[in-house]
Amino acid sequence: MLSFKEGLLDKTARSRGASTLRAGLIAGALLSGTGLATSAQAEEKVITAVMHSGLRVIDPVITTAHIVRNHAYMLYDVLIAVDENFTPQPQMASWAVSDDKLTYTFTLRDGLLFHDGAAVTAADAEASLKRWGVKDSGGQLIFDVTDTLTATDEKTLVWTLKEPYPPLIDTLAKQSALPPFIMPASVAATPATESISSFIGSGPFKFVEDEYQPGVSVTYEKFDEYVPREEPASWMAGGKVVYVDKVKWVTMPDSQTSINALLSGEVDYMEQVPVDLLPILESSDEVVSELRDPLGYQSIGRMNFLYPPFDDVKIRKAAMMAISQQDIMGTLVGNPDYYKICGAVFGCGTPLEDETGAETLINGGDVEAAKKLLAESDYDGTPVVLMQPTDVPSISAQPIVAAQALRDAGFTVDMQPMDWQTLVGRRASQSKPSEGGWNIFFTNWGVPEINSPLINPMLNGRGNDAWFGWPTDDALEALRKDFIKAETLDEQVAVAKQIQAHAMDVVNYIPVGQYLVPQARSTKIVDMLPSPVPVFWNVKKED
């Protein structure tokens, strides 16, 4: 319900069209006190969307869970955002770089307001960036070379560096895993290890606190005072124009239920449809399924570098040789329209795509060569502890197919089933595999989360500070430094090619294929932006 004050504010901002809609809303707000609300509310445009997971955490800094990032894009805005060509564009701020590449000056655009009515200031951006920099690995790299980050006035933020950091703008613009969202400075003062408890952002949607049920549903309403940019929307960049009154995210524990709800018109949108179930949707002319984004997800296997047998590069190579992407993707997805065989650690369809070293992976595996290599190695039959999640459909097939391949190659595999949450806890354990540790597990990443050496979590060779598996790899770290120094795309591509070859050579991790996730929507929902992050601006709901 709109407050009186907001109603007044709204009149002043009425110039941007959709006035009838707003009038209806105000009428609804006035009437709701008199008990006639239902008829007015019926005119509200509400999109009900089934999301891939329930929202339980509201702090986008404390977690990298996709659903929390998606939530944050509703509620918060970002300084700079990436468009569909991977190019950073101004969003809340424009920027200028000094000639010596050491000083970045950001200028906030006019009209930015938080949901509580306060203006967004450069001080808010400063505090938000600092909190983000504690947690995000890309942010940490920037803050390593930061001299100062200060708000010089209400609208200006100056970032000075000790040495040039060419990918700074790319890092700020990234959409995964942890984009730097701008919060009020008072909220951003929360330590990065504690969850925030405020729902105040400056994004195109407001949080409806009364309707939030963790893990079940969350409702957003249009933030009327949000001023969109003039440019057309493209991925996370451009004008975030909202054409609906409310967006309600719901979670359903069962895809079957979600599909039925979509078919019967109870919901309008389903973020992820299992490919096998697409034929059910095809029978209906009130529902369309389509690809949300052409990049999809990269599925990966990661080995533990600390313990035998995978502390030995030869054995890691044998394991990689045994694995066939075709077998894994064929089993996981089935329909070849929805997966790509892709040996590039940076993903296929990205600027840094390169498949050097992944030949066996993309050509059906080579079990004979794997057997031979394993026989030559020091492998003594130690069981390989493979963690198999039992409750996440998108990672169900990888361990099972891989276990069969590894056994064919001569490995002893101890496949240990567990729920995903147990796996997440256990993969953080550096104990021996026989004492609660592990040897190999599988997970999936959105391609924008792995498409550059700056953000790909696996390609980090800092031992205990690296991602689970903890490789100590100085050569990799040196290559990453080279990448940071690269100033042009060509230079970046050249370094990325070396990283690809190196990653495959030491078997940093095993990409096991790239798959696409179809979404489905009611035909009433039109102009939905194709984007890796499902966004609800630009979209319209017809009657």
Partner: protein, 313 residues
């Protein structure tokens, strides 16, 4: 009577205490780390350690237990590790759907099952008896989720009579509540009807053989009156008992139906919490459901003495 209730209430204390200790220990011995779940895919071990400390998970077990019990005595169920929301708020949001569905299921079940059981006993060893008994055995033999899917397929997808999923509070729109609650209640009721019908039949069979029933019949009291006034009244105690002990069964059904029909109740809340290792939520939920179970059975014991004058405390 009051003394009896007080005595029974006191006996609840050790039960609940044991449940509390048991659940607490069970969870702390469970592998899985709420911090890792909270932090998502890209966290490093050092970051996890910091989160663990800020959640209080690095404190000694005894300290954690003491903190929790201390909170409980102040009526504070703690704060969800994952959502950072007071557990009492989460329970408050989620308990009503479950209570409403469960109540409706119980009413529906009793209305269906008691007549079924009475008829089966009355028409003992006829087709009616066999039909009721077959249904009641069948009700036990098909998994709840299969029944739910079949109902959805038939009533929502083929016939399009009822919505597929969801929940609307009865206070908001009673018609909508009913239309959405019918299928989950029917699904849940199959097993409950089976249970109650069986017990009613068995209990009635026993009572129908008693002398006073024969006397009543001999006096020419109408058969309906004999059945529902004389016999059923005396057969009621075991039927009530089974409704009480069946509560556990209802909970297990609720957990599943809430998933199938997407009802935001406490069953799903608890399962989600277990899978996410959200300790305060699991502890509160198990303690709460146990307390409800104990309380319901206490109520039933008290109800005995009202229904069956032979029982006196």
């Amino acid at each position: 009577m009051l003394g009896y209730i007080l005595k029974r209430l006191l006996a609840v204390v050790p039960v609940i205490t044991f449940v509390a200790i048991f659940v607490f220990l069970l969870l702390r011995l469970t592998p899985g780390d709420p911090a890792a779940i909270l932090a998502g895919d890209a966290a490093t071990p050092a970051q996890l350690e910091k989160i663990r400390t800020s959640l209080g998970l690095n404190d000694p077990l005894l300290v954690q237990f003491g903190t929790w019990i201390g909170q409980l005595f102040r009526g504070d169920l703690g704060i969800s590790l994952i959502s950072n929301i007071p557990v009492s708020d989460m329970v408050g949001q989620r308990i009503w759907p479950t209570i409403n569905i469960a109540l409706m299921t119980i009413i529906l079940s009793v209305l269906l099952a008691v007549p079924m059981g009475v008829i089966a006993a009355w028409k003992h060893r006829t087709w009616a008896d066999y039909a009721v008994m077959s249904f009641s055995v069948l009700g036990f033999s098909v998994p709840v989720f299969v029944i739910g899917y079949i109902f959805i397929q038939v009533f929502s997808i083929e016939l399009r009579w009822l919505p597929v999923q969801g929940y609307t509070p009865p206070t908001e729109d009673f018609g909508k509540f009913l239309s959405k609650a019918i299928l989950p209640c029917l699904t849940l009721a199959t097993i409950y009807v089976a249970l109650i019908a069986r017990m009613t039949r068995a209990s009635m069979l026993e009572v129908l053989g008693e002398d006073y029933v024969r006397t009543a019949r001999a006096k020419g009291v109408s058969e309906t009156l004999v059945l529902f006034r004389h016999a059923l009244r005396n057969a009621a105690v075991p039927i009530l008992t089974i409704i009480g002990t069946g509560f556990a069964l209802l909970i297990s059904g609720v957990v599943v139906t809430e998933s199938v029909f997407n009802i935001p109740g406490i069953g799903r809340l608890t399962v989600d919490a277990i899978l996410a290792r959200d300790y305060p939520v699991i502890q509160a939920m198990i303690l709460l459901t146990s307390a409800i179970y104990v309380f319901i059975n206490l109520m039933i014991d008290v109800a005995y003495s009202i229904i069956d004058p032979r029982i006196r405390y």
